[in-house]
Point group: C2
Chain length 363, copies 2
Amino acid sequence: MGLFSSFSFATNKRVGLSLLATACFTAAACSSAPEPNSSVAAKATVTEAAPFAIAIHGGAGTITRASMTPARERAYREKLAEAIAAGQQILAAGGTSMDAVIAAVQVLEDSPLFNAGRGAVYTWDEQHELDAAIMDGSNRAAGAVTGVKTIKSPIALARKVMEESVHVMLSGAGAEEFADLHQLERVDNSYFNTEARFDALQRMKQQLGSQDKTAWQQLDARFKYGTVGAVALDTHGNLAAATSTGGMTGKRYGRIGDSPVIGAGTWADNGSCAVSATGHGEYFIKYQVAADICARVTYQGKDIVSAGDTVIHEVLMPVGGTGGVIIVDGQGKVHMPFNTEGMYRASQQGDGPVHIAIYADEN
Amino acid sequence: MGLFSSFSFATNKRVGLSLLATACFTAAACSSAPEPNSSVAAKATVTEAAPFAIAIHGGAGTITRASMTPARERAYREKLAEAIAAGQQILAAGGTSMDAVIAAVQVLEDSPLFNAGRGAVYTWDEQHELDAAIMDGSNRAAGAVTGVKTIKSPIALARKVMEESVHVMLSGAGAEEFADLHQLERVDNSYFNTEARFDALQRMKQQLGSQDKTAWQQLDARFKYGTVGAVALDTHGNLAAATSTGGMTGKRYGRIGDSPVIGAGTWADNGSCAVSATGHGEYFIKYQVAADICARVTYQGKDIVSAGDTVIHEVLMPVGGTGGVIIVDGQGKVHMPFNTEGMYRASQQGDGPVHIAIYADEN
């Protein structure tokens, strides 16, 4: 069990209650965490609306209170709240999980705070190469792009690949040519420049010294992480997952991480769950993290809490695979396990309270 | 169940017997298919050597006797035999499954008969973009390359990525830069030119007419397929899988298929099985075919025959996901299910007979 194995936060223990109606919107949530207020719980039996839920992440890694200023922490929390709201409003209005995850991810892509879109990290060659993937749990439709340099919203392009191409995964200049066919917004690569990320690359190069493989592996975790993602269940019972990233600081040789690899960083299947991952991508590919969590739900009958905790803490942690995932299932249960000091994350079930957290000891 | 669901060939029913010693080299093979010759079976108890096995494929698709000449069929069978021998010799001498799958795949890469290396198909732009992946079942180490244009043996580069980089997946020009660091042989893209593949591209463009998505999906299956791969179990008990391909004829926009996607076209895990896939790659990504077969073995306790048949015939076939896989497990059992008219394939268990087949009705 990993460092934070004792931290097992399940939002189903914090059932969201709106004043209007859906006091308890999933049977699973009710049975696992009965509300102390029995008069509220009683109301739930009157009208049981279809459950819906959304969860987002903005990267996992060495995120500690010591490394944070109050202003910076507030900025993160506000942006996470804005992203959740963008997705939740769509779900509450009966929109699709696909539209909701796109809306949430685009808020994070547009913010320089996160390593995706606007705030993407720098490659070794001081460029930005962005990856993204999306998957529709209702039909296994999927789209992914990798190594795009001029696409303002990589997640929007991933969706176009899913909907408008015969392929699942497009790369590099070819993917950008495809984007032009579909009038997606292109920007100069310098659009993604931020001083903070540039400084991080310089520090990383200093820390690395020679280009020795071992040195790279021992790099401070903060250079490896940061990715944004969203998972959602809509009122139609459909799951969706979306992930967008600038990858790993100082990545070279056209490196592709786990985010655009369907099954590794992104997975959705109505029969089990939807997952978006963030962490040291190479491990997430080798252990097929997103698909493996859902496989344990499907084949072992585990719930997402058990399946997610096992993979993050018992499979990944012992081999050094640091990071985390957000998971939502078909009943609207949300679980967000990670094995790092922190993970920017937020979730909302139905019209319930918005849960926003950064550090491991928050729940 | 698909067209060929009644065809369920398991080589474990044809236990290989050498004259010298290892009459029955896997307990599983013996128990599931007792040899009628009891005196031979008795010898097996004298010396039970560690099992080893190898299986290869050279692509699945519309491969019928009507479309084949005797000379062409002979050429395919001879090359498959050569590839099996290259890998089997390594295993028989106590070598690693990793070395064996590389040796087998390189024979197929070097042949213009198969859609990998030398005989790679053409992209829409009349270039060649090659993908490959390799995975070590003993430790989940993995390497993959995509969109390389000048690497003579993409599978050799995939192995270098696995062994010498901190990344799992490298792409395009970056991957070629990495290849130079490790002195891998580069060739001009025209090295991969063959008249047969060029003609296929022209026929495909004619058949496609406009670039309509629907038309592309209805393309004759022979333009979609062809990939080579190998899976092996060595005498040390380690599994490995390798896949190499030129992708889909007329592919565009930097399309990446399933072959280099760990979990989709290539997967190896000592705890379950090793798989290499060939077929309509987009489906193999969306259904995580290679990893899903192994997940069914791990989590459902299925054997590779049941797990492989279910995924190929019951999961993929109904949604139009045509193709096949080769599978080997930790006892040296081999299974090679496919749902197309044919799949170039071969296998050998221990020092037993070499099984070579092309059409669906061969077993």
